[in-house]
């Protein structure tokens, strides 16, 4: 509640009333005043009318879909903050997310497989949490690696093992489950299927939205054209009637 009672022409109080932010007592005072003061009543009505007009202003449709796609990784030697924010537009991405996951996971799985086969079954395979499987290789390895040599795989394997060891020592989280290459492949397949499904759903939704927007735009354009044609027809009709009237006047005047 304000310290002073409402006074005629107090625009701050009127604005507070207009937006419904005054308390019950002040609202009562103002409403009583509006009944007897045409000036203030008109002021409030004018402000209300302007607010109504403001409701017609909508922002244009925009292609947003921003997502943080990469985070600085100090362990990989990235010292500065290198977060990248970009729209999640599937057609503008250099490589779809599922393809990045596929490439990284394939390299990882191959590395694990080679490691297991070369060192024998007694060697503990590279156990991994989901985070290390999906995210860290993407940050560390180029996802586009169509041909991979054995040396590459060994380097990758060594790096992954190093990172996993670091993870184990750095964070005292839940114990990491033992897994084997089949399990890794199964997880990778599941992730791939899931990612692909999401991608398809997103593109389907996007397509439906675009079709809807195009259709609506077409209807608006047609309505505008029809209105323009209607205007022309009305003008032409009026002109025709004027000419008819003039002709009748001329005929009448000549007959006289």
């Amino acid at each position: 509640m304000r310290d002073q009672p409402f006074q005629c022409g107090d625009v701050e109080a009127l604005v507070t009333y207009l937006y419904g932010e005054c308390d019950a007592q002040e609202r009562g005072l103002i409403e009583t005043h509006l009944v007897t003061c045409p000036g203030c009543a008109e002021e409030v009505e004018t402000l209300r009318g302007t607010r109504t007009l403001l409701a017609t202003w909508a922002p244009p449709a925009a292609d947003l879909g921003f997502q943080i796609t990469r985070v600085a990784d100090p362990q990989a030697g990235e010292v500065s903050s290198s977060s990248v924010l970009r729209p999640a537009r599937w057609w503008s991405k250099p490589l779809p997310a599922w393809a990045q996951v596929a490439a990284a996971a394939a390299i990882f799985a191959a590395g694990v497989g080679i490691g297991v086969s070369r060192r024998g079954p007694d060697v503990q395979p590279a156990a991994a949490t989901e985070a290390s499987v999906v995210q860290r290789p993407i940050a560390a390895i180029s996802p586009a690696a169509p041909t991979v040599s054995a040396a590459d795989l060994e380097r990758v394997e060594a790096r992954l093992r190093g990172e996993i060891a670091q993870l184990r020592t750095a964070s005292a989280v839940a114990p990491v489950a033992r897994t084997n290459s089949d399990e890794v492949l199964r997880q990778v397949k599941a992730m791939l299927a899931d990612s692909e499904r999401r991608q398809q759903q997103a593109s389907a939704v996007r397509t439906a939205q675009m079709v809807g927007q195009l259709e609506e735009q077409r209807r608006v354009d047609i309505a505008q054209m029809q209105r323009a044609v209607g205007d022309v027809q009305r003008i032409a009709g009026a002109t025709y009637q004027d000419q008819n009237r003039l002709v009748r006047l001329l005929v009448n005047s000549q007959q006289r």
Partner: protein, 211 residues
């Protein structure tokens, strides 16, 4: 399960990028709408929107929850808008919307609105946008925060760094000048009549949930 902003912020601060991406999904449209209405240009508003989230993400370690996440984000966005306007060194000119989201529009207004209404409303919106662009930045921003983002006077005062009474004065002066500018526009005569005729009907001033 739907996380609150505060929960998502806490998870983001713990290094969970997905949580921050959820915050982006939740807030990018209001932030874009704010930037668009303040600076009046689509592409630049989009850039401001992206930069706002990027700055927020980078500054997350310093965000201690002393304010609502949304208020903090609004502040970052308004600062970016102000920087952009200063760089322009001239009154921003509202770019006529090239493509109003007619589908969203139609779905919100319901089947009662005909295509004719839609066209008229869209044209009206363009005139309103142009008239808003003529207002001083402080008045325009106060109106935008109040009308389209449903903020209280106090929230606007905090964001604009001014007393409560100044916010009310800016709103009053802004609305009054806007009305005069609109009344001078010949194209507005029928639009004003139309809007006023449907004031208690389909056209409602509350747009808080729209963006």
């Amino acid at each position: 399960m739907t996380w609150t902003d505060e929960e998502l912020v806490a998870r983001s601060r713990g290094g969970d990028v997905d949580s921050f991406n959820q915050l982006i999904v939740r807030w990018e449209r209001p932030i874009y709408a704010l930037a668009y209405r303040v600076i009046g240009r689509e592409e630049e508003a989009r850039d401001v929107c992206q930069e706002a989230f990027l700055r927020a993400f980078r500054a997350l370690p310093g965000f201690k929850g002393q304010a609502k996440f949304s208020s903090w984000l609004y502040r970052i966005t308004l600062n970016l808008c102000r920087d952009w306007i200063r760089r322009q060194r001239r009154t921003p000119v509202a770019q006529m919307p090239e493509d109003v989201d007619a589908v969203e529009f139609a779905s919100e207004t319901g089947p009662a609105e005909t295509i004719e209404d839609l066209v008229a409303r869209r044209e009206l919106g363009e005139v309103v946008a142009a008239a808003m662009a003529l207002l001083p930045e402080e008045q325009r921003t106060a109106i935008i925060l109040k009308e389209y983002h449903g903020m209280t006077f106090q929230e606007i005062a905090d964001l604009q760094g001014c007393p409560l009474s100044t916010v009310k004065t800016r709103l009053y002066q802004g609305l009054s000048v806007l009305r005069r500018n609109l009344a001078r526009n010949p194209a507005m005569a029928s639009g004003i009549a139309r809007a006023e005729a449907t004031r208690d009907g389909r056209l409602q001033p509350e747009l808080v949930k729209r963006v």
